[in-house]
């Protein structure tokens, strides 16, 4: 349980954040300049904010009681956006800077696959390798909370996939994480809770799926699934997978054949086609029956949430919604084109 109630003057506005987080992974979402980095720096103790920060009953900051622990006594692992590896130390020395435990070192090297990099200089590493080293370095301190500032921002698509895999392994270690991102689908890939910052204040917070399904928050709405259990059928060009919520999906074989599972994929709400009746002959391989759970109309656009085994977000024009006479509770069929899926990682 992390309770945050802080104030910090910043250049164009004042950071004023109040929230309490219980999820294992919380995504901190917002546009650049919304105060995300300043907030995580305040939590790490690198900025002198006023107010309260309490983690599992331990006060790191409590201005009323005169408590403001220095960063080295907060027990918080921080991985900045560019990893900030110490340039004068080799990879192994960077990792050991966080702590000297032999067992911990060995298990992190194995989990993050760092063995081939140990003797390298940070300058010779790729963006993804740097992130992994910085992650191991922060984890060596046995942090009570891990702060990740846009770990995928400077990493190309094929590598993102791997970093997300490592981040899921860290998540599974049970260390609470706050994950900063400006990409809503990244937030969905890892987090169960989401805090949206705008101009230094909490614009929304709640379960990630609910918060990020709001088009006002994420701009374009995405459906994100963590899929596993792949069955490749190269001859047909498809790969059968199952989502965490039990939805059976067909993905294009050529795009996922080299991926590691579990894999996170996304499809835009704009790429879901709605049918009023069961479509009989259709090229789309993913057709699901569902019920309209909610319906929200604005400016000629209608955003639907449809309950299939997993809730799906759908975005259609008002004309289409009227033509299909969509109301809450209506029975519909959804078609998701296999090739409209994008791999998050």
């Amino acid at each position: 349980m992390i309770e945050i109630d802080i104030r910090l003057p910043l250049a164009p506005f004042r950071l004023e954040v109040r929230c309490s987080l219980t999820a294992n992974v919380t995504a901190l979402v917002g546009r650049s300049g919304s105060g995300k980095t300043s907030l995580v720096e305040s939590i790490a103790g690198l900025r002198r904010a006023l107010g309260r920060i309490v983690i599992d009953g331990t006060a790191l900051l409590d201005s009323d009681r005169g408590i403001d622990l220095p960063p080295e006594r907060r027990g918080i692992g921080y991985v900045p956006q560019d990893a900030a590896l110490f340039p004068h130390l080799r990879v192994a020395e960077n990792i050991r800077f966080g702590g000297s435990g032999r067992e911990r070192f060995d298990s992190l090297i194995e989990a993050l696959e760092l063995a081939p990099l140990l003797d390298r200089a940070p300058a010779s590493l790729s963006g993804g390798e740097r992130q992994r080293v910085a992650l191991a370095r922060a984890l060596m301190t046995h942090p009570r909370l891990l702060l990740l500032d846009e770990p995928l921002a400077s990493i190309d698509q094929p590598l993102r996939e791997r970093i997300l895999l490592y981040l899921r392994r860290v998540r599974d270690l049970g260390i609470p994480m706050i994950y900063v991102t400006h990409q809503p689908f990244e937030a969905l890939a890892l987090s169960s809770w989401c805090v949206v910052l705008r101009d230094g204040r909490v614009a929304a917070d709640g379960p990630s799926r609910a918060v990020l399904a709001d088009p006002a928050v994420s701009g374009n709405v995405e459906n994100v699934f963590e899929v596993s259990d792949p069955h490749h059928e190269p001859g047909l060009g498809i790969t059968r997978v199952t989502t965490g919520g039990g939805l059976a999906l067909l993905l294009p074989y050529d795009q996922v054949v080299e991926a590691r599972f579990p894999l996170v994929v996304r499809i835009s709400a704009d790429d879901v086609v709605v049918f009023g009746e069961k479509p009989s002959s259709i090229s789309s391989r993913n057709v699901f029956e569902g019920t309209v759970a909610s319906l929200r109309a604005s400016d000629g656009i209608v955003d639907l949430t449809v309950t299939t085994p997993e809730p799906l977000s759908v975005r259609i024009t008002r004309a289409a919604a009227e033509d299909l006479s969509l109301v809450e509770g209506a029975r519909v069929w959804l078609a998701l084109r296999s090739r409209a899926f994008r791999i998050v990682g």
Binding site: A44, L46, E72, R74, Y78, F86, P87, F97
Partner: protein
């Protein structure tokens, strides 16, 4: 002549080594203190802009028997004025601003984020400074020490006031050149000038290379 050169090099080296820890501590404090550190920054840079004779005069007053400090030193039997110690003192005070300012810049350009990250990894401010900031700034620090050494080689105004110009005892290169010109033995002055130009040129070149390397390394 060789002994004048050797004596000057020794004095400059001792003076540089004496002020390095003080300059480093003050530069580190001022860096951490942010806005408050500007008072120290200004004070540290003061001898750079004052006439060396003014600094020499202040030192002379402080060390004279009439002052509390001078009186105390006399009672415990320490003689500074007009001894080689006075030369070291004059060089140290006059070359301090160059070293302090160079240290300040070197630490500032070492990127504070590394220091911050080291602290999130459990390092105290002192440990983070020694293990991360110093190793990243060493080229700039060394360059500052070299500049300060060169300044000490050429120190004249404050030295002549508190150490005099005693051949074989307090006469440095700069004082010897003045002496030779006064005496009309200009060919000797010229030889000394050639020496000092040569040494300073090599040292300043090394210092510039170090600064360029530090910039390059931090840009990478």
């Amino acid at each position: 002549m060789p002994h004048i050169i050797l004596f000057t090099l020794t004095i400059a080296a001792i003076s540089t080594l004496c002020i390095a820890p003080i300059a480093l501590a003050l530069a580190a404090w001022s860096w951490r203190a942010g806005a408050k550190g500007m008072v120290v920054d200004a004070l540290g840079a003061l001898p750079l802009v004052l006439p060396p004779t003014a600094v020499g005069f202040v030192l002379l007053e402080i060390l004279s028997r009439r002052s509390p400090i001078g009186g105390f030193l006399e009672r415990i039997g320490v003689q500074i004025l007009f001894t080689p110690k006075a030369v070291v003192l004059a060089c140290a005070v006059m070359s301090f601003p160059l070293m302090f300012t160079a240290f300040r810049v070197a630490i500032e350009t070492s990127d504070r984020r590394f220091f911050d990250v080291a602290r999130t990894l459990g390092a105290s401010p002192a440990r983070a400074f020694i293990r991360v900031t110093l190793p990243l700034a060493w080229r700039g620090l060394l360059s500052g020490m070299i500049l300060s050494f060169c300044r000490a080689l050429g120190e004249f105004g404050a030295t002549i006031l508190i150490a005099g110009n005693i051949p074989g005892r307090t006469q440095t290169l700069a004082l010897a050149i003045y002496d030779r010109v006064q005496n009309g033995t200009e060919h000797e002055a010229l030889a000394l000038v050639a020496w000092v130009v040569g040494m300073a040129w090599v040292l300043v070149a090394i210092s510039s290379v170090l600064i360029a390397q530090q910039r390059k390394r931090l840009a990478a």
